[in-house]
Structure formats: C-alpha cells, structure tokens
Amino acid sequence: MKIVMAVIKPFKLEEVRDALTALGVHGMTVTEVKGYGRQKGHTEIYRGAEYAVSFLPKIKLEVAVDGPLVDKVVEAISAAARTGQIGDGKIFVSSIERAVRIRTGERDRDAL
C-alpha cells in the first residue's frame, strides 16, 4: 500500500476530491498547511512595519491507496490540481506497511 501526499492550491480541493471519487477512492485526510517555494508571496504593512510573507496557504492531502491504484491517483490529482501557474504544488508517494480501520479492526487493503 502507498500513501500519496499532495500539496495543492486550496480552491482546487473540491475538484481533486471529485477526481478521486471518480476513481473509486472514497477516503482522504486533508490539512491546512502553509507552503514555501518558488511562488512568491506578498508584503504586508502594519503602520511602519513591513513584513514579507513567503508562506502561502495550501491544502495537504493524504490518501492511502492500494499499490495498483497509485499511478491513476497521482495522475488524477495532478490533472485536477493543475492551473499551470507557479504554486500548483507537489505530489509525494511513499509506502506504508500497514493500515487498520479502527472501527472494525480490518487490516490493509480492507481497511481503505
């Protein structure tokens, strides 16, 4: 099993979710994060003080999927999250050794 972690632009979340459900992936966990990268931030000024804000709001998506599905999932996410502008984000895939559904105790692929 793999876990796909994607960092995307906040307003793309709905589209990505739809793309994933279309693939039959019915579970994910999202986190509000701040991202730093090529996309340039902005400046804020409060009375005299100027602050260069380089951390931008992003959404982090974590989806555990069964091995075979990974390519489709990565594809779907990047297609749905793409705007073509700097800051679209990244997708990282790593493997997980075990998965458990707390409610039932089911394990691994049954747990997803």
Binding site: F11, E14, H42, T43, E44, I45, Y46
Partner: protein, 494 residues
C-alpha cells in the same frame, strides 16, 4: 367659500409637509430666535451617536461577518472609508445642496447658500414637526450627516468581495452627489410647520379684504411651493424608506449585475466567515435603528416613543417570521435567518415608524420577514444574480413594502396617527382626512421615482467609474482575497 374651496389644496399641501422624516430650517426666525428645548437637543445628539454606532461598527460587522475571511478587511475598509468621505462631502457642500432652496432646480436639488456650513452658528435652529419647536441646526446637520453616510455604505454589500477599492471611492463620491442628495432634497426639504401656520393664519386674518387675502394666499402658495418634489406630492416617509433603503437597494442590484458574479459562485463554498460578527452587527443595527427612527421625529416626545415601540416590534415580528418560515421550509431554524429577518423588519418599519400603530407595525414586520425570506432564497436563486449580501432582497424589497404599507398604516382606523395637516387649524397640528387611494398612490409615485432615479443614475455612474478606473479586481486578486490584494493587510493573524 373661496377659502373653503382652498382647503382641500391646503390639506393636500399640508399633508405633504409633515411627511418627510426631516424638516427644513427655520428661515427668517423673526426677532427673538426660538430657543431649543434641551431635552430635544439631548435626544438628537444621542440619536446621532446611535446612527453612527449602527454604521460603524454595526453595518460593517453585519456585512463583514457574511463575507469570506480573505475579504473581511476590505468590507470593513469600504464601510469605514465611505463614512469618512461622505461626512466631508456633507459639511462642505452636501448639506447645503440637500437642505437649502435650489432656485429654479428646487424641485430636485438645493443650492449653495450654506456651503462650508456658512452662516450656521451654535444659535442657529432647525424646525421640527411641531409648531414652535426647534433644535440647534448643528444637531440637525450632524444627524442628517449620519444618514448620508450609511446609505452608500448599504450598497456595498451587493457586490462585496470583488470591487476595486479605488472604484468604490469614486463611485461613492459621485453617487452621493447625483443620487443621494437630490433624493434627500426631493423627499425631505420643506419650510417647516410654522411657515405654514403663519401663512395660513394670514389667509384667515385677511378676512374679506380681497387685496390682503390675495397677498396672503400668494404667500401661502409660495411657502407650499418651497419644498422638494416628492415632498409636495405628499409622500409619507418618516425615517427614510425611500431616501435610504430603496435608494441603496436598487443601486446595489444594478451594481451586482454590472460587476457580475464572484469567481466560483455557485460552485465553491462561500459560507459566512463569522456569523458571530454578523449577529453582533445585526444587534447593533437594531439598537442604532432606535436612533434612526425615533430620532427622525426630531423631538423627545410621545411620538418618538411610539416610533421606538414600532421599530422594536416590527424587527421582532420579522425575525420570528423568517425564523419559522425557514424552519418550516428547510427543517432548521437559523440564526442568519433570524437576524436577516430582524433587519428586514427594521427596513420595512422605517418609513412607517412614526405614522403607524404598534399592531399595524407588528403585522408589517411579519409580512416583511416572509417576503424577504422568499426573495433572498427562491427569487434570487431563480434569477441567478449574485447580490452577495442581499442588499436588494432585504433593503429594496422591504423598503418598497414599508413605503406602500405606510400609506395604509397611517390611517387612524388602523391605529395610525393619521396624516398631519398644518393649515386647517393654523398653528397647531391637525389630522387630515384619510383617503386610501390618494394616500397609497402618492406612496407608489414616490417609490417609482426613487427606483428610476437611483436605478438609471447608478447605472450611468457605474459605467463612468468602469471607464475611469475599472470596477473589478483581477481573478487572481479575487482568489487571493481583497484584503491582501487591495489593502496589503490580513484581518486575522491567529
């Protein structure tokens, strides 16, 4: 005979006089200038503070809570900036253009006799609706100023979250000059009760002496003529249903059509970022509205108390109506529905507050609650325009309802105080006969003129602003939020 034949005209004229929310100034305050009663002065100062509270922070929070976090600060900035800029316009030339005689244009707008508040000092007085009762003119100037400030601020809710700040500033300046001031003049400029009383007395005094009478009648005609157009029609608007709410509501509708929908409208979740603040804003609107409506009586007397009761009751009735209507239709009673209803009730009762009775206003409130619920949900969804904060659905709709209802509720047979008549019993306030058709028809005319003037006028002004600076921010800026894109600040840094 001749005289009696005159009366109908007088009464009609007379009815016209009492109707505005606001009197004109006591011109020619003879030898000994009238001294204001300190109770009235105290009340007007407080009413002014209350209307200010209603605008900032009241309206700013009511609107701000409804937008998304990224646009909160822009909403607060727009309301605050409007208050500041309009008040400067008001003291420099706005007051003069609204409340002095405009010569040949007097039907539509005032003149420049009092630019920079020229000629006003702490002893100058303004007339009220009671013969012989006056308040300091400065109190009248500042009370009126708050009305000029809040009206354009009401508009911004219609195209919230997408308009350029620079465009808004420019639009506000133009709108106040070409829409607000003329309407205010048309509805609220008149000579005050004593001018009529004296003129009418003279007519009577003239007795049979033809020459004298002719002169006196001429004078009376002149006094009657020295008022705004809608005023002379005899439309009733106690605290600004036409001038404030219909006026702002239609301008907002035009604006949201011109600017177009927000990016993602209909697709993305655009839930209010803080109904807590919206509720706080609504509560302050309610409290401030006591000053807005009861203050419009310009006197601290039983009628002001009546206006306060009516304001309270209509707001409560509308809130309850919307609450239960939504509960029945959607299965859940919502806070947003309740506070929206309260505001709808406050808007509806504004023109009627000093004319109707408590029970009439209770019914008015119930109707307003259900009607606006229907407009802000069904109708709006059907017509698919993006009036972000329902400025049209609440202010214009409830404003029209209230304006028409005022023509009905004023009837003494419905517990109203009746249509005032300053001439048939010169020097005191009588009640003119109530004729349903007449009463309602003048209201309809007033509403229509306001809708047309503000609707078309605003359209033109928006086009001009669009040509000069452009109305709307870019999509990227809209995505990022106006707070950072336009103001370089963030509302919250938790």
């Amino acid at each position: 005979m001749k005289l009696s034949s005159l009366f109908p005209r007088f009464c009609l004229a007379a009815s016209a006089l009492a109707l505005s929310a606001l009197p004109a100034l006591a011109q020619a305050a003879a030898a000994a200038p009238p001294v204001p009663n300190k109770g009235d002065t105290a009340w007007m100062l407080v009413a002014t503070a209350l209307v200010m509270l209603m605008t900032i922070p009241g309206l700013a929070l009511f609107y701000g809570g409804l937008v998304r976090t990224k646009n909160m600060l822009s909403m607060l900035s727009q309301v605050f900036a409007i208050v500041c800029i309009v008040s400067l316009i008001w003291v420099t030339f706005g007051y003069s253009m609204a409340f002095t005689n405009g010569g040949s244009l007097n039907d539509f707008v005032g003149g420049f006799g009092k630019v920079f508040l020229k000629g006003i000092d702490p002893n100058s007085v303004a007339a009220t609706f009671s013969n012989g009762v006056y308040i300091p003119e400065y109190a009248f100037v500042v009370f009126q100023m708050t009305f000029a400030c809040i009206t354009p601020a009401l508009i911004v809710g219609a195209f919230a979250e997408r308009m350029k700040f620079s465009a808004l500033i420019l639009f506000t300046v133009l709108w106040v000059i070409f829409i607000y001031i003329p309407i205010a003049h048309m509805v609220w400029y008149w000579g005050g009760p004593d001018a009529f009383g004296d003129a009418a007395k003279a007519v009577v005094a003239a007795g049979t002496d033809a020459a004298k009478k002719a002169a006196a009648e001429a004078k009376l005609a002149e006094v009657t003529a020295d008022a705004g157009l809608i005023y002379k029609w005899g439309a009733l608007d106690f605290a600004g249903g036409t001038v404030v709410h219909i006026n702002a509501g239609i301008a907002g509708l035009v604006g949201c059509f011109l600017l177009g929908k927000r990016v993602g409208y209909g697709k993305e979740l655009m839930a209010p970022h803080s109904l807590t603040l919206t509720m706080v804003g609504a509560a302050m609107l309610w409290v401030g509205w006591f000053g807005f409506n009861a203050g419009s009586n310009l006197e601290a007397n039983g009628v002001a108390a009546l206006a306060m009761v009516n304001t309270f009751v209509a707001a409560a009735a509308a809130a309850v109506a919307w609450l239960f209507a939504e509960w029945a239709a959607k299965g859940k009673p919502s806070l947003l529905g309740m506070v929206s209803g309260a505001v709808a009730g406050l808007v509806a009762v504004t023109p009627a507050s000093g004319f109707g009775g408590p029970m009439g206003c209770l019914v008015l409130g119930l109707v307003a609650g259900v009607l606006c619920y229907f407009f802000c949900t069904t109708v709006k969804n059907a017509l698919k325009y993006d009036d972000s904060l329902d400025v049209f659905g609440i202010h214009c709709v409830a404003g029209i309802l209230g304006a028409l209802a005022t023509g009905i509720l004023v009837s003494t047979s419905l517990g109203g105080v009746g249509i005032p008549d300053y001439t048939s019993k010169p020097g005191e306030l009588a009640v003119a006969d109530y004729v349903f058709a007449t009463a309602v028809w003048v209201q309809i005319k007033a509403v229509l003129l306001t809708l047309v003037w503000s609707g078309i006028g605003s359209l033109v002004l928006f086009k001009i602003v669009d040509a000069v600076v452009g109305l709307r921010v870019t999509h990227e800026q809209e995505r990022e939020g106006l707070d950072i894109a336009e103001h370089g600040e963030r509302s919250y840094n938790y």
